[in-house]
Amino acid sequence: MQIGSTNTSTINLGVSGDTVNIPSGVTIANAGTATGFGGDNTPSFQAYGNTSYQAVADGTYTTVQMPNELYDTDSAYSTSTYKFTPQTSGKYFFWGHAMGDGNWNTTMFLVIQKNQSFTAGDFWRSNGYVTANGGVTCSGVLTANGSSDYFELRVYQGSGGSLNLRNQPSEIQFGGYKIIE
């Protein structure tokens, strides 16, 4: 059955407040363009490090410097402050990765943090003992208010001295995207 013709531009089903039911067993096959359904996982971004070493002082939660972007759909990531400040509220999935240069011979902690908070629910932390350019990956979901909330990747080590992160962009990364809710 054909509904609509070559001179029909819009077909409306129901009015505000109505429910359009699709019974079980029915298949909706779309060969055209669908808009208004689902979402597109934005804002999203992926940042990466420079080809220079970053020193991490002993006992100090240090913001990982990533002045480069692979993509940044809503210009929410700053390549100078290294903060992601999305202007759309909701839940975001984040991941971060960092590698130590050489044999750290100590534990690296990697933290994805909202508003510099260490309150449960505002940060994710992962750790690993770093030898031979070893690294740590951290990921998790955090909630953004869509205005002032910002997110950072921080690294920590307590060796007693300063240690360097690696200088390869593929080894220092921070990214995230909004979850479709």
């Binding site: 002082a57 002993d58 006992g59 100090t60 290294y82 902690f109 001295g161």
Partner: protein
């Protein structure tokens, strides 16, 4: 220049306290990578006030000494070798082991 963590440790030790910078520790140091360097983000050392910049500056010389000695300690530790190997060395000839350890200490004196 001595690191902030070293100076905070010395300040706490001088006041019979212990600074713990790790997860759930009593002191959190941060560096926002904005060029301003590390700072004390949170301080919850029981019975001891957060130090001012002036107080921490008093620990600069002692901090440099401590960090130099930390480097010496690390060098010595590497030269001592695996603890299992040392136990074997002690079992075979403790005097030879003692002489080797003393030579490492002599070659890497503390300040």
């Amino acid at each position: 220049m001595a690191s902030l963590s070293t100076k905070v440790k010395l300040y706490c030790t001088a006041n019979s306290k212990t600074a713990d910078f790790g997860p759930e520790g009593n002191v959190a140091l941060q560096d926002d990578s904005d060029g301003n360097g590390p700072y004390v983000k949170t301080w919850s050392v029981d019975g001891l006030d957060k130090p001012t910049d002036a107080i921490l500056a008093n620990y600069e010389t002692a901090g440099n000494t401590e960090e130099t000695n930390n480097t010496v300690r690390a060098t010595r530790k590497a030269a001592y070798g695996d603890i299992g190997d040392q136990l074997d060395e002690i079992f075979k000839n403790i005097d030879t082991w003692k002489a080797r350890i003393q030579a490492v200490k002599d070659a890497n004196p503390k300040s």
